[in-house]
């Protein structure tokens, strides 16, 4: 389960106690493979900020390791690429919610 991947692999003891939102967006190609990971960060008031690398690097590494993404098809059966994103709400360095 996606949430468990983060709960089991994210170590909040070795990060700064920062809070805010982190979005990781990536593409899932027609073979179900992921690439083009992009990150966006803000404080809890939606103002841009840069998190401690120990937080973002962990989230990025776990996200990149996720697999099992579904494939999307057009009506004619052609498989297509699609964008996917995960929003992480971080409070005091801990993941409190993974959305949407």
């Amino acid at each position: 389960m996606l949430i468990n991947s983060f709960l089991e692999n994210y170590d909040s003891t070795k990060v700064k106690k920062e809070s805010g939102l982190i979005r990781i967006r990536f593409i899932v190609n027609c073979h179900g493979e992921t690439d083009r990971f992009r990150i966006m960060q803000s404080d809890l008031n939606y103002k841009e900020k840069v998190f401690d690398k120990n937080i973002t690097n962990q989230l990025m590494a776990i996200t990149k390791a996720l697999d099992g993404w579904g494939q999307k098809y057009m009506e004619d059966g052609t498989s297509v690429d699609y964008w996917q994103f995960l929003n992480f709400k971080i409070v005091e360095g801990k993941i409190v919610k993974i959305l949407p």
């Binding site: 389960m1 468990n4 939102l21 979005r23 967006r25 966006m40 803000s42 809890l44 939606y46 841009e48 964008w83 994103f85 929003n87 709400k89 409190v96 919610k97 959305l99 949407p100």
Partner: protein, 270 residues
Amino acid sequence: MKYLTLILILFSSSFLFSQPNCNSFLWEGDTIKYNACKLSEKFVDYYQFDMRGQAILDSCILICPYYAWPYFEKASTYIKSGNFLKWNYYINKSYEYDPINTLPYRASCRAKFFADYVGAISDINELDSLVSFDIGYTNGGTYHLNVWKGLCYKNLDSFDIAAKIINDHIQKQPDAIGFYDYLHLGVCYQKLEMHEQALECFEKQINYNDLSEIWYYSAISFKALGMHDEYNSSIKKAQEYLSNGQTLVGGFRTLDDEIFQYELDQLISN
């Protein structure tokens, strides 16, 4: 159920921030907003993420910087791509020029996409203070904003407040009970260890939508009450419905109290 769905769709759409009738701005004597509005009608010719459509919205803003609708549409585009920085900028501009039409959507998104429950509650309270009519529904139409406020409190672990708000809504507006209201109310009671009340709600929920979640949460309450036969039959039904895909459906996101096979397996193994 079909009639309820139709009514909800009609009601919810009436509270969405739809493209205005441009002539209303002429009637108000605002030709600048009228011109921006007429241009904005061309936006619907394009796919939402098409830069040509976005350029039309930008032009509308240039023509009439106090016209809320193009800001709202740009915010709607950005949130779908997960760009919360630009979403926040544009939705706040929309709010600045048209708070009544913007607040339902901002309250919905703050809770749905950012777990900003305090912000969502604040938006709903502000909307309530601004209007004398019913405050309406979330942007997807699934929840009345009163219930949405209750769900925000539930997510803040204030189950007693959440239960009171949702129950008050059901009592005051029995014709506006949502698809999943009784389920969420039941889960609030369950968190408060009021299992009899929780089970009453789950039973009522069956009349609106018979879902795997009803039986999963019923099983939890039956277990707490030591009702083993009922627990076993509920687990069986939860699994049957889950396997058939008869569950909460959110589309864009995971809904409150939605369950997956993992949760059911955990309950069975404990």
